[in-house]
Symmetry: C2
Subunit: 185 residues, 2 copies
DNA sequence: ACCAAGTGTGTACGGTCGTACGCACTTGAG
DNA sequence: CTCAAGTGCGTACGACCGTACACACTTGGT
C-alpha cells in the first residue's frame, strides 16, 4: 500500500550542507552567511538548499542542533571515561583548557549559537537540551549543586579565554574545580 | 588660523543612533539589523547614519564599545561599594543573580557582542578591554587567582541561566563564590 | 549683506539576498 | 516498455540592502 518508494540519489548531501553551513558561520558569522555562501562551500547548486531545507532559518536550526549533538557527545565520553571524582576533575580541566572543546572554531560557533538562540525559539530549545545533557554528564561524578557550579565554569572560562592574550593557567583551573567539588561533596 | 568653526545642530543625534542600534540588535540580532532599521528606531532619516558613521560595521563597533563601557562602570561601582571580602562576595552574587547585570537585554547584547567579536578585530579589542576592567574591579578585593576564577563564573553562570527554566539558586552562587575566595585567599 | 564651509537629508543605484518554480532526470511498479 | 512520482537543479523575480551623492539649510567670519 502507499505509493511507490523512491530513493535519494545523494543521501549524504543533506549532511554536507549542514557541515558547510557551520563552516561558513564559523568563518563569517551568522550575519555573513547566505544560501549562496553555503552552497559554494558545500559544492552543491543553490537549488539544493531550498530543496532540502524550508528556509535559511531552518538550516541554522539544524546546523546548530548538530553542533550541540556533537559537543554533547564529546562531553559525555570525556566524563564517562573518568573512574572517580579526581579523574572527573581532571577531565573537566581538560575540557576547559584543552583544544578539544575549547578550540577556537567550536568557541566561535558556540557564541554564534547563543546569540542566534535569543532570536529563535527552536535554537533556544537546542541550547536548553545541550545544557541539560552536559549537566547530566557531570552528575555521573558530582552532586547536583557541584555540577551546576562546575557547568557554569566550563561555560565561562573558555569564553573569557577567547579574548585573553596569555594561555590559560591549567593548574589554576584544576584547583578551582577541585575546590568546588570538595565544597559540595 | 584654521577655517571657520561650525556647530552641530543636533549633537545628541549621534548618541541616539548608537542607542537605537543597541535596541535593534537586542530585538533582532546583528543578523537582522540594518541601517534602515536603526534609522526608524532612532527616528532619524537614513542619510544621518552615513553622515555620522562610515559604515554599518563602524556603528556596530561603537555601539558595542558603549555597551562595554556602561557594563564596566556598573561592575566597578558594585564592587567599589563593598567594604570587605564578605561584602564583595555578596556583590558578586548580586551581579550574577540580580536583574542588573544579568537582565535579559544585557545578556542578549553580550551574546551578540561576543559573536560579532569573532569576526571583527575592533570589537575583539573592546571585549579584551571589558574583560581587563572587570578583573581589575575584582582585584580590589580578591587576589589575582581568585579574581580569574570568579570572573569566569560571572561570565558563565548568567549565560547558562539564560536557557534554564527555573530561577537561579542564590545561596548556591554565594557558597561557590565564597569557596573560591577561601581557596585562593 | 554676502559668502565659504560645515551640517544634514532625500533619493537613487548597483548588488545581493531569500525563495519560488518550471523543467530535466531517475526509478520502480505495472 | 510506459509512466507516474519523487529527486534535483538552473534561473529568475521582487525585496531589501549598503552606500554614494547632489542638494538644501545653517552659521560664523568679513
Amino acid at each position: 500500500m502507499g505509493g511507490t518508494r523512491r530513493v535519494a540519489n545523494d543521501p549524504l548531501r543533506r549532511q554536507r550542507i549542514l557541515d558547510a553551513a557551520l563552516a561558513v558561520i564559523a568563518e563569517r558569522g551568522v550575519h555573513g552567511t547566505s544560501h549562496r555562501g553555503i552552497a559554494a562551500e558545500a559544492g552543491v547548486p543553490l537549488g539544493s538548499l531550498t530543496y532540502y531545507f524550508d528556509s535559511l532559518d531552518a538550516i541554522f536550526e539544524q546546523a546548530f542542533q548538530q553542533l550541540a549533538d556533537s559537543m554533547s557527545e564529546h562531553y559525555r565520553t570525556a566524563l564517562t571515561q573518568a573512574g572517580d571524582v579526581a579523574e572527573a576533575c581532571l577531565a573537566v580541566t581538560d575540557l576547559i583548557c584543552g583544544d578539544q572543546y575549547a578550540s577556537a572554531r567550536e568557541l566561535t560557533l558556540l557564541h554564534e549559537m547563543y546569540a542566534y538562540a535569543n532570536h529563535s525559539k527552536a535554537v533556544a530549545e537546542t541550547c536548553a537540551q545541550w545544557l541539560g545533557r552536559s549537566r547530566a554528564s557531570l552528575s555521573q561524578h558530582f552532586p547536583d549543586r557541584a555540577a551546576r557550579a562546575i557547568d557554569a565554569l566550563i561555560e565561562g572560562w573558555p569564553m573569557h579565554q577567547a579574548w585573553e592574550h596569555e594561555p590559560l593557567d591549567r593548574e589554576l583551573v584544576r584547583a578551582t574545580i577541585t575546590a568546588i567539588a570538595q565544597r559540595f561533596a
